[in-house]
Every structure is written in structure tokens, then in C-alpha cells.
């Protein structure tokens, strides 16, 4: 009996995925759990495992197709059985970048694997790859009018409105020479400024890596469309550092706990008291997530990934440490699993190892909060009216102002102190 493999949902906010590459071709053998394809979600490129064993009978979508979650992408069955073609929902869109492999309808010949598309971003489709007027760009009428007046191709503009609609400010940002435009060599300037003829070193034009493109899009979307506010708090670190030292003395090399592991646990426990910050803004409602899944930003080659410690509030610190360590390892090795990076409800970004006093992070959509953690530093402090030396660490929370307000952010940071400054509470 043939089975259908569908686009998996890899996170609560995932609605569709882009098929990047088929790992198996039609006619090949596959076992349940084997990698069938690579797909790209909003957050990363991940491997899709087959949910069935047998022969790959039909690949239903071509590389570059954007497929809603739950829609069939392939059929796996026995080599000789007659298979019926499931209906492809009309919402499966063919990306322009894969224009040649148009056939979402089955072809008799085994499908040739298309070369990996160079660019699969949803709205920042490169202008030179889009025949003029061939794609309906979702833009507000005023955005269309302004773009038309300034001879600007909206296909090159990043939309920040609802559903990615290009609105007036997006066009204005581009016209002002700011964000939201994919730069490309050879594209004539549309801004209408006279070119500055200064002899200079040649610019180097580098193609953005896929990860970089994703970061660019998601961070632009976040920074442009989400009103951020920031609250900074300074924490007394003596107790936590002592606690960590004592614990690590007992642990094997490789099992050691980082300051960040404590902070992840502390943030998770504090979020229990602040469900409004463990949330996502969604149009006319706020979704408060049932689970507290802390995402931890990990620097990887030419970018960053957020690995997720599920149910961080319910796990002991040593378990958080060991899970994060494994996931960070996979992330840096390029072997990240879908579950490593999906489902975070709140993020922690720690630059403590770089001797950073303090910084502010951009929210990781659709999360409502992210905690940016600086270094624990030995600094002069005033205690009982006299100057002393103490260990202090600054952290800054960024919050989606549509969901919460400054006072709540400040109270969160205060409550966080309870766990950081009295770390025995983390061990209860």
C-alpha cells in the first residue's frame, strides 16, 4: 500500500516550507527515517525524513516549490503497485527560480534533480530573475504608486506589512537608500543620484549564503515591523559564580555547566511568572505558549542559529547544559536537526565570552522576548557606603511592545535577579 509523505510542520509558526532538493529520486529504495529531501523553513534548511519504507514512486513537487504544511510531497510504495495521484492543493506555488521544472503534475520520466536554486527567499526575489510584471507583488496601492513614480521594481522590495505586504514605508526606506533592497551588481541605480566618481578600491560583491539571506530577511522583518523596547538590569554574580565553580568541580570535563546554562534555567523559571513574555503577537491576539522553550543563539559559520531547549523550566540545569552542548555541536557542524531549531518561545543571546558589557538583541520572530547577556565582570561597587569590588553582569531584555510594556519588562528583569542572585533556587 503506497503511502504519502507530506510537508512536515516543524514549528508552531511554520505554515509552509520550500523544497530545496530531493535526496532520493523516483525509483530509489528508501527506509523509514532515511533522508528524503531537504526543505527550507523560515528558520533554516533541514532534512526531511521519510515516514514510510519502500520505493520512491513519485516526487510530487519540484525543487523551489513552496508547499503548505501537510500537503503531499512524495509517494512511497512497492515498485509494482498502481498509485493514485493525490490532489495538489492550489496553494503549492512554484518559485520563479525553478521555472523550468514546472511539472507539479507527474511526468512519465523519472524527474531529474534540479540544481539547487540559488535563491529561495519569499519576497526578496532578485529582480533580474523575475520577468517584468510576471509576478503579483503584494503591495499596498500607495506603495505601488510610489514605486511606479520612482521607477522602482517592487519585486526587489522587502514587505513589512501584514502578510508581507509592501507598504509605503518599505518603499520609502528603499528610496532613502536604506534597508529592504537586495543589492546586485549590474543593476542600474534607481535612486537617481549622480554617481560619485571617486577612484577607489573595487567593491567586492559576495553572494549571500542561504543562512545569511534568511537572517537578513527575518531580522529586517523583526526590526522593521516589531516595535522593540529594551530594559537593562545589572545582576550580582558572586553567588552564581561560586555555585557554578562548586558544581563543575564535581563534574567530568565535557559535562561542565556554563553561566549561560544557569541563565537559561533562570529565564525559564522567571517566564513561568510572566506568561505574557513567553508569547507571540498574532494580529488581533496574543498567543501565550504553554511550553517554555528557550532558544539559545549560537554563532555558526557566517551566521547564527537558535537551538532550542524544550521545556527548559522543567529540566535540571545539568540536563539543559548537556542538551545545549549537543545541539550546539550539531549546529556548528552543519548537522542541525529540525527539532533542534524549532519551537522556541523565548531566546537568550549571550556574548559574555567576548568581554561585552552590555548589548541589545533583535527579537527572533514571532517571540515576544529575547534576553541579551553580557559578561560577568569584576567592577567597583558601592556597598554599605563604601567602594568595593564585586562581580556584576548586565543583561538587556528586548520585548515586543505590541505584547507587553516597559513595566512588565522591568519586573521580569527584577524577578530574574531572584534566580541569578540566589542560584540555589535554580536547583530546587
Amino acid at each position: 500500500m503506497a503511502e504519502t509523505v507530506s510537508m512536515p510542520k516543524l514549528g508552531f509558526d511554520m505554515q509552509e516550507g520550500t523544497l530545496v532538493r530531493w535526496v532520493k529520486n523516483e525509483g530509489e529504495q528508501i527506509n523509514k527515517g532515511d533522508v528524503l529531501a531537504e526543505i527550507e523553513t523560515d528558520k533554516a534548511t533541514v532534512e526531511v525524513e521519510s515516514s514510510a519504507s519502500g520505493t520512491v514512486r513519485k516526487l510530487l513537487v519540484g525543487p523551489g516549490s513552496v508547499v503548505p504544511i501537510g500537503s503531499p510531497i512524495a509517494i512511497v510504495g512497492s515498485p509494482d503497485e498502481t498509485i493514485t495521484q493525490p490532489a495538489i492543493p492550489p496553494s503549492v506555488k512554484k518559485k520563479k527560480t525553478a521555472a523550468k521544472s514546472e511539472d507539479v503534475t507527474p511526468s512519465k520520466k523519472p524527474e531529474v534533480i534540479q540544481p539547487e536554486p540559488a535563491l529561495v527567499l519569499k519576497s526578496a526575489v532578485a529582480a533580474e530573475q523575475v520577468p517584468a510584471g510576471s509576478e503579483t507583488v503584494k503591495a499596498s496601492p500607495v506603495a505601488k504608486r510610489l514605486a511606479s513614480e520612482k521607477n522602482l521594481d517592487l519585486g526587489r522590495v522587502q514587505g513589512s506589512g501584514p502578510g508581507g505586504r509592501i507598504v509605503r514605508k518599505d518603499v520609502e526606506a528603499v528610496l532613502a537608500g536604506g534597508i529592504g533592497l537586495r543589492s546586485a551588481a549590474g543593476v542600474p541605480s534607481f535612486i537617481g543620484r549622480g554617481a560619485q566618481q571617486i577612484e577607489a578600491r573595487q567593491d567586492e560583491t559576495l553572494k549571500l549564503s542561504k543562512l545569511r539571506q534568511i537572517i537578513a530577511r527575518r531580522m529586517t522583518e523583526s526590526k522593521v515591523s516589531v516595535p522593540h523596547f529594551y530594559v537593562t538590569h545589572e545582576y550580582r554574580m558572586e553567588a552564581l559564580l561560586t555555585q557554578r565553580k562548586q558544581m563543575n568541580e564535581e563534574l567530568e570535563e565535557g559535562d561542565k555547566i556554563s553561566v549561560n546554562d544557569f541563565i537559561v534555567k533562570a529565564a525559564a523559571l522567571t517566564l513561568r511568572e510572566y506568561p505574557n513574555l513567553n508569547a507571540s503577537f498574532a494580529g488581533d491576539q496574543v498567543i501565550r505558549h504553554g511550553s517554555i522553550n528557550i532558544g539559545v543563539a549560537v554563532a555558526v559559520e557566517n551566521g547564527l542559529l537558535t537551538v532550542v531547549c524544550q521545556n527548559s523550566d522543567q529540566k535540571p540545569v545539568w540536563q539543559i547544559a548537556s542538551e545545549l552542548q549537543e545541539m550546539v555541536g550539531r549546529a556548528r557542524a552543519g548537522k542541525v536537526k529540525p527539532e533542534d531549531i524549532e519551537g522556541s518561545t523565548f531566546s537568550v543571546s549571550n556574548l559574555g565570552m567576548y568581554d561585552v558589557e552590555n548589548f541589545s538583541a533583535i527579537l527572533n520572530p514571532p517571540e515576544a522576548g529575547i534576553l541579551a547577556v553580557g559578561s560577568a565582570r569584576e567592577v567597583p561597587v558601592v556597598k554599605d557606603g563604601s567602594l568595593q569590588v564585586g562581580w556584576r553582569m548586565k543583561a538587556t531584555i528586548s520585548v515586543d511592545h505590541r505584547v507587553s510594556d516597559g513595566a512588565e519588562g522591568a519586573r521580569f528583569m527584577q524577578s530574574l535577579a531572584k534566580f541569578i542572585e540566589q542560584p540555589w533556587r535554580l536547583l530546587l
Binding site: S140, P141, V142, K144, R145, V167, R168, D284
Partner: protein
């Protein structure tokens, strides 16, 4: 400039016009000895006498019908409907006679009358006494429909209505009589059929009138604390509808919210939004939103009634939606 209530502004407008023009008189239920059920004509009976302050039977059709007749033969009656809900008993004369007689007889007749009517909900009067059916009347060519949102506008517009040679339905809001505002001490009138910007801003345009103005001003105040600059256009007259300030504002902000107290279906919001789409489509940055009464006969229970009526929070939410 004096700070006076809406009630005082309306009262003064009628008083001054009656002093100025002997052809002006007021008639209706309890306008005389009682002094007006909303005390607008308190003191009028004693000052002007029974000839010019006429207590009528409770018979809305003949109140409006006879005012039309008196206006056609040269007087300037102000016919008061105790509430606009009773206008339905006089619907024939408001929409089929007052609005049509001039046109239908080739312009021979002139009907210089004012129909004053009190509308609006929020006072726990139940479904039949709490309506805002303004748009029904604004539907008819031949009628002018005015509904002010400030004491100064009320006075200036009512004086114009009394001096107008056309039938004017002047709609007051029962919950706004205590509203205070600056009103010029000197003689003035304001033109009927002119919308006006009541608050300047650049991020979003709120189009509203009457009670909606009060809600919108409060909403704008709160949004200002977040840096959102709201521009408010007060229609003041529903017919003839002056869209020019609305379109001008919209071309600046590209976003609009329409706030009215009446039901949403087929309402002011529907009309204004359509005109924005027709006249300024290329300036749209977001769909136009409407804030209006829930589609339910207004209940007596206070909590339910308030839930059905548009509130400041609804206006704020709608503004956020279009931003």
C-alpha cells in the same frame, strides 16, 4: 470665548435666532411649559410665549407635517422630535415630503425648517430609545443631515440650519449635553456641509462625527503617548457629505479608521470607506477599518449595552490594525 455645555450652546443658538428673526418658532412635545425634556428650551416659554413655543400633541407625523406646511408658507419652524427614535412615526413627512416637495414641484416650494432630534445610546433606555439611525436619513437627497460633536460646532451649525432655506435634520446626542467646550462669545455661524480637521496628525486618519468625535479624541490622546499621531476629520454634516478634508488627510496618512455610533452595516463607515477607495485608491497603505455599534438591538443591561457600543479601546485597536 466661554466654556459652555453642548446643551447651553444649542439653547443659545435657538434663543438668539428667535430673537433675531420673528419667523422662527419652536414646536414639539414638551418644548414649552416643561422646558424641553432635555431642558434645551428651559425658559423659552416664559420669554417668548405660547405663540412661539408651541407644545404639541404626541403626534410626530403632524408635528413634522405641519412644520413643513408652515415652512412652505414662509415661517421658519424648528420642529423638535423628543428622540430620533420617534422619527420613524414621522418618516413619511421627513423623507417623502420635506426631502422631495421642492424638487418634485420644479423648485416652486422652499422648506426652511429644522427638525431637531436627540439620538444615541448608552443610557439604558432599551432597544427602541437608543438608536443612532442617522444614516437612514442621510440616504435621502433633499434633506440635509447635521450632527455636531462639539458645543462650538453645535451652536454655529444650528444657527446655520435655522437660517437655511432647506429642511435640515439636526441630530443631537443625548449623552453629550454635558460636554463642555470653548464657544465664541460673539455672533457666528458655521457652514453646513463642511467637514473639518479637529486634530492634526500624520500617521492615521480617523473619520468620525458626533459622539464618535469624543471617542476618537480620547483614543488619539492615548495613542499620542506611544508616538502615534492621529488626525481626526469630523464630518459634522452627513448630507451633503464633504469628503475633501477626508481625502486630503488620507493622502497624507494613507490609513483610515471610521468611527460611528450607529450599526456598521450600510453605515457612515461603509460610505466613507467606499469614497476613499473610489477617490484615493492609489494612496491606500492598509484596508480601511470601521468602528461601529455591534449588530444588535441595544440591550437594557448596562454591561451588555456598553459592550455593544463602540468604545475608546475599540478605536485604539482599529488604529493599531491599520498601522
Amino acid at each position: 470665548m466661554s466654556k459652555i455645555t453642548m446643551r447651553e450652546a444649542i439653547s443659545k443658538a435657538i434663543w438668539e435666532e428667535m430673537e433675531r428673526d420673528p419667523s422662527v418658532f419652536i414646536m414639539g412635545e414638551e418644548v414649552g411649559v416643561w422646558g424641553g425634556t432635555y431642558a434645551v428650551t428651559k425658559g423659552f416659554y416664559d420669554h417668548f410665549g405660547a405663540r412661539r413655543v408651541k407644545d404639541s400633541p404626541i403626534a410626530e407625523a403632524v408635528i413634522i407635517g405641519s412644520a413643513i406646511g408652515a415652512a412652505m408658507v414662509g415661517q421658519r419652524p424648528i420642529a423638535e422630535l423628543m428622540t430620533i427614535n420617534f422619527a420613524f412615526s414621522a418618516m413619511e413627512h421627513i423623507v417623502n415630503e420635506a426631502a422631495k416637495l421642492r424638487y418634485m414641484f420644479g423648485g416652486q416650494f422652499t422648506i426652511p425648517m429644522v427638525i431637531r432630534a436627540v439620538g444615541g445610546g448608552g443610557r439604558q433606555l432599551g432597544a427602541t430609545h437608543s438608536q443612532t439611525p442617522d444614516v437612514i436619513f442621510a440616504h435621502f437627497p433633499g434633506l440635509k443631515v447635521v450632527s455636531p460633536g462639539t458645543p462650538a460646532d453645535a451652536k454655529g451649525l444650528l444657527k446655520s440650519a435655522i437660517r437655511s432655506n432647506d429642511p435640515v435634520l439636526f441630530i443631537e446626542h443625548a449623552a453629550m449635553y454635558q460636554l463642555r467646550g470653548d464657544v465664541p462669545d460673539e455672533e457666528y455661524t458655521l457652514p453646513i456641509g463642511k467637514s473639518t480637521v479637529q486634530r492634526e496628525g500624520s500617521d492615521v486618519t480617523i473619520v468620525t462625527y458626533c459622539k464618535g468625535l469624543e471617542l476618537s479624541m480620547k483614543a488619539a490622546e492615548q495613542l499620542a503617548s506611544e508616538g502615534i499621531r492621529v488626525e481626526i476629520v469630523d464630518l459634522r454634516t452627513l448630507r451633503p457629505l464633504d469628503m475633501q478634508p477626508v481625502i486630503e488627510s488620507f493622502k497624507k496618512t494613507n490609513r483610515a479608521v471610521i468611527v460611528e455610533e450607529g450599526w456598521k452595516s450600510f453605515g457612515v463607515g461603509a460610505e466613507v470607506a467606499s469614497r476613499i477607495y473610489e477617490e484615493a485608491f492609489d494612496y491606500l497603505d492598509a484596508p480601511v477599518r470601521r468602528v461601529a455599534q455591534d449588530e444588535v438591538p441595544l440591550p437594557y443591561n448596562r454591561t451588555l449595552e456598553q459592550a455593544a457600543l463602540p468604545q475608546v479601546e475599540d478605536v485604539i485597536a482599529a488604529v493599531r490594525e491599520v498601522l
